[in-house]
Each structure stands twice: as structure tokens, then as C-alpha cells.
């Protein structure tokens, strides 16, 4: 292709955008609305998963030992536990540490009356899991280890988190798929209407001897530009909105901040930005190519 022709094609693509203002606006609005919903939903789902993940990491199993068990055996048990794949972190809490923390949390100044550690047999391992759904398997294993007196765990927390996590994953995949399908349908419809209006123009080009490529190129450039703008606008809105909403939530519900930790807008955009732009440009590209093709058989 001549440079001359390339520039002409690019120029026509840009001009088409202004030539068909209403069509351009309708397409940008459609793509923008779909990608806004997509972005919004993505931000919510990702944050939700992040919160659940955090909660999961806070779930621990506590292992107590038989009275008078030797320190070497306790250390051995610790190493055995650490080797398990579902375990992310093992923390040893000595009897003194357990007493200190109990005093701090519950007794305060009343603790002064105790001269000896009443929790002498409370040395334990706090075990954090990488995958909460493996909790019951781990507990069974721990209970079988000689020297282990008791295993404490919260069954309800673990099963709830596991269930919620799976539900969020299914629902988010489902909703994102539906949103994408609706977007593609709406956008290709809009493009189709826009191009039908210009059917005559395409016909004239073909009569004069334009190749399919020559006819199609400006439309494709136009479609990709519309997709790009249509993706950029909701991204900008989400970027601003996200920060505002996060600030509001953290300010208004300050007691929740220990429970809820949100992702930063940069973390959200590291995925959302390329995906949205890709979807916008991709839909513009495919939509214009497939709709122009229908009119090229002249």
C-alpha cells in the first residue's frame, strides 16, 4: 500500500467519526455503558475476593500438647506441620506468651493477683492455612499426631468462607459473560445500523473499482477509534469514582476498616485498563469488519 493511500485511509477513518456524529455518539455510549458496567462489576468482585482472601488468611487452627511434652517433641511436631502444603504459616506461642496476651485482652489490672502462670499447659501452634477448604483434612491429620492434646478450629468460618468464595467465582464469571455477550450484541447492532446508512457509499466505491480492503479500512479504523473512546470514558469515570467511594466508605465506616481491606485503584487498573481497552478496540474492529463484509458483495 502506498504511504499516500495509508494516510488517506487514516484520514477518512477519523473524518467518518465526525461525519456521522449521531452514529458515533450512539456507538460510544453503547460501548461506554457496557464497559462501565463491566468495570464496576469487576472492581466489586475483585475487592470482594480480596476481602474473602484476607479473611481466609486470618482463620487459624490451634494445636495444644499433652502436659509435660518435651520441647524437642514440640519442635518436631512444628516441623511436621510446616511441611504440609495447605499450611501457609506456623506460629509457636509459648505458655508465657499465651498468658501475657490473655492478661492484656481480658484481665487488665486484675491480673496482678496471679503469681504463677495459670496457663502453664497452654503452649500452642497457631497454624494459618493457604486454602481454608483443606481445614478438616488438616485437623484430622493433627489429631493423629502423638503428643497432641487438643485441636481448636472454627468449622463454621472455614466452610462459610469456602462456600462464599466458590459462589463469588461462579457468579462473577456468569455476570461478566452475560455483560460481554450483551455488549457485543448491542455494539454490533449499532455498528450495523451505522453502516447500513452508508451502504450506498460502499456501493459507489465498489462500482468505481475499490478493493474490499480499500472500502473496509476507513470503517475499521473508525470502529477501533470508537471502541477506544468508548472504553476510555468509563475507565476515567471508574478511576475517579473508585477513589471517591473508597474514601467515603473508609471515613464513614471506620470501624470496618480492620475487617475490610480494599485494593488500591492502581491494582484494579493493572487488569481493568488493558482488558477494557482490548475489549473496546476488539469489538470495534470485529464489529466493523463483519458488518462491512455483508455489503461488500457488489
Amino acid at each position: 500500500m502506498r504511504i499516500n493511500t495509508l494516510f488517506y485511509t487514516l484520514r477518512q477513518g477519523f473524518r467518518n467519526i465526525f461525519r456521522n456524529k449521531w452514529f458515533t455518539l450512539a456507538s460510544i455510549a453503547t460501548i461506554g455503558a457496557c464497559l462501565f458496567l463491566f468495570g464496576l462489576f469487576y472492581a466489586i468482585v475483585v475487592n470482594f475476593q480480596h476481602i474473602v482472601k484476607n479473611a481466609e488468611q486470618g482463620v487459624s487452627v490451634t494445636v495444644f500438647f499433652d502436659a509435660g511434652l518435651e520441647d524437642t517433641r514440640i519442635q518436631e511436631i512444628g516441623e511436621m506441620i510446616a511441611r504440609r502444603t495447605e499450611v501457609s504459616n506456623v506460629h509457636f506461642v509459648s505458655a508465657d506468651e499465651a498468658w501475657q496476651s490473655f492478661k492484656q485482652d481480658y484481665l487488665g489490672e486484675y491480673a496482678d493477683g496471679f503469681t504463677e502462670n495459670p496457663l502453664a499447659n497452654s503452649a500452642n501452634y497457631q497454624i494459618y492455612l493457604s486454602d481454608v477448604s483443606m481445614q478438616s483434612a488438616l485437623v484430622t491429620y493433627l489429631e493423629s499426631i502423638p503428643g497432641v492434646r487438643r485441636v481448636n478450629r472454627s468449622e463454621i468460618t472455614a466452610t462459610t468462607l469456602t462456600g462464599v468464595n466458590a459462589l463469588v467465582a461462579y457468579v462473577s464469571v456468569g455476570i461478566i459473560a452475560i455483560l460481554l455477550a450483551v455488549s457485543i450484541f448491542l455494539i454490533s447492532n449499532t455498528i450495523m445500523i451505522g453502516i447500513s446508512v452508508r451502504k450506498e457509499e460502499i456501493n459507489i466505491m465498489k462500482y468505481i473499482g475499490a478493493t474490499d480492503f480499500f472500502v473496509r479500512s476507513p470503517f475499521v479504523i473508525e470502529g477501533m477509534l470508537i471502541g477506544l473512546i468508548g472504553a476510555a470514558i468509563p475507565l476515567g469515570i471508574i478511576y475517579v469514582l473508585y477513589n471517591v467511594v473508597m474514601e467515603y466508605i473508609l471515613e464513614r465506616f471506620s470501624m470496618l476498616t480492620r475487617l475490610l481491606s480494599f485494593l488500591s485503584v492502581e491494582e484494579i487498573f493493572s487488569v481493568l485498563l488493558p482488558v477494557s481497552l482490548g475489549i473496546g478496540v476488539g469489538i470495534g474492529f470485529l464489529g466493523s469488519i463483519s458488518t462491512v463484509r455483508k455489503h461488500l458483495r457488489v
Binding site: R2, K206, Y207, I208, T211
Partner: protein, 262 residues
């Protein structure tokens, strides 16, 4: 003045022939001087009666031919077949050395670039000015900007629109719009010019001017086919007249006239 501009075009045509005319000459050599050949051509639409039936037509290079007939006679079908917008149902059709029943889809643009086409409804690109409408045909064949800047004003001068190159189609009269369409058809120096009812939407004065331009183009060597209803023009110009009726050629006369309907 017109003749002077015509000479200029003659020179440009000469340049083109020496540069790229070789391939075409080789292709048409086997067809002697014939540029359009239809042998036993029939075209039937899926909906019903045949649009053309056993049409035999030979048109030589440099001829000026009127195709006449009332509506439904198959004139439009014939034009569409010659443009390869439609394919024949049976028979053989060859235009400028291209066997149109066998031509591949991707070769059609190249084939059409040798045909200038003018429609009754002008079919200009409404959002572009006169200059861009004509330049468009040159951009399709990937002419450089330099060549376009040279060729477009020269062809606009020939059709008498040099002063209106900036106007949009809707700012022009019907006659002027048809001149733009004619300029667009001619700027690539086609071998064949097809005009489908070129005067159908024009008053008598403008009709005559367009016909004179077509005659002049023909004198410069382009084969011209004009589909028309205009009895007065056909009778006055004394050219070859092919009359179609219900898809069949009923007469083909040198220096003929418009045959009245019974």
C-alpha cells in the same frame, strides 16, 4: 476551448498506453477488435421470468451504442452483467478480455477500473465536495497526490466545472451533478464508459450537453454505451441502436432510431 482540453486528454491517454497498455492489448488481441462480447447470454432471476434470453451482442472498440427499450426490457440487467454486479445464468460474456463468468471476486475491482460508470441518480458521495468526488476514483487506483492534483482539475475543466470544485453535490443542479459523475467516470481514463439513463433526471438543455460530452469522449477513443429512454436524443444522434424487448434483442441497427412501441 473544448477541443483544446480534449487534446490535453489525448496526450495523457498516450502516456498511459505506453506505460501499462501492454497487458490489455495482449488480452484483447484474441478477440480482434471486440471489446464486449455476449454469446447466447441468458439471465434468470430466482423469482421468475428470464430477464435476458439468448442475447448475442458484439461491440467493437471505439463504438458509440445506444441500448433502448421500455422498463422491464432487460436494459438494467444488461448493465449489471457488464459490470459484473450480476453473473449470467448461461452463455458467454467477455468484457475487455475478462471472462466475466469465471472472474474471481478479488479481480473484480481491477476489472471495474477500466470501466467508467454514470447513473441516472448520479450517485455522488454527498458529504464530499466536487474535487474529492472525482479525486476519489484516482485514490482507489492509488494515484499519487501530485498526479491527482494534475488530473482532477483537468477533467473538471473538460466537463465545465472548473470553477465549482469546492461545491458539495447538493449545491449543484442535476446537470452539474451529472457532470461530476461523468468526470469521476472519466478521470481514470476508462476503456469503456457505461451510462445508465444519464439524462433521465435532466432537462432537455442539460441532457444535450451531457450527450455532447459523451460524444466527445467517444471521439477520443473510449467505447461508450448509453442506456436511455430519450427518444429525441437517440433519433437525432444517428448512432448504433440496440433495442431490447422482454429480455430479447429485437433490433440492432447502425445509425438507427428509437423504435416506437406497438
Amino acid at each position: 476551448m473544448v477541443i483544446k482540453v480534449g487534446e490535453k486528454r489525448g496526450n495523457r491517454r498516450g502516456e498511459r498506453t505506453s506505460a501499462s497498455g501492454k497487458g490489455r492489448r495482449r488480452r484483447t488481441a484474441s478477440e480482434s477488435n471486440e471489446i464486449i462480447t455476449l454469446t447466447d447470454v441468458s439471465k434468470a432471476y430466482s423469482t421468475g421470468a428470464p430477464a435476458l434470453k439468448d442475447v448475442n451482442l458484439r461491440i467493437n472498440k471505439g463504438e458509440f451504442v445506444f441500448i433502448v427499450g421500455d422498463s422491464g426490457s432487460g436494459k438494467s440487467t444488461l448493465i449489471k452483467l457488464l459490470l459484473r454486479e450480476l453473473t449470467i445464468t448461461s452463455g458467454y460474456i467477455n468484457v475487455m478480455g475478462y471472462d466475466l463468468s469465471k472472474i474471481k471476486h478479488r479481480k473484480i475491482p481491477k476489472f471495474r477500473r477500466n470501466i467508467g460508470i454514470v447513473f441516472q441518480d448520479f450517485r455522488l458521495l454527498k458529504d464530499r465536495n466536487v474535487y474529492e468526488n472525482v479525486a476519489f476514483a484516482q485514490r482507489i487506483i492509488q494515484k499519487s497526490n501530485k498526479e491527482i492534483k494534475k488530473n482532477v482539475p483537468s477533467i473538471l475543466a473538460i466537463v465545465g466545472l472548473a470553477g465549482k470544485y469546492k461545491a458539495k453535490p447538493k449545491q449543484l443542479s442535476g446537470g452539474e451533478q451529472q457532470r461530476v459523475a461523468l468526470a469521476r467516470a472519466l478521470v481514470n481514463e476508462p476503456t469503456v464508459l457505461l451510462a445508465d439513463e444519464p439524462t433521465g433526471n435532466l432537462d432537455p438543455k442539460n441532457s444535450w450537453e451531457i450527450m455532447k460530452l459523451l460524444e466527445q469522449i467517444n471521439e477520443n477513443g473510449t467505447t461508450v454505451l448509453v442506456v436511455t429512454h430519450n427518444r429525441e436524443i437517440v433519433n437525432a444522434m444517428q448512432k448504433r441502436v440496440v433495442t431490447l424487448k422482454k429480455g430479447v434483442i429485437v433490433s440492432d441497427e447502425e445509425k438507427g432510431g428509437y423504435i416506437d412501441e406497438d
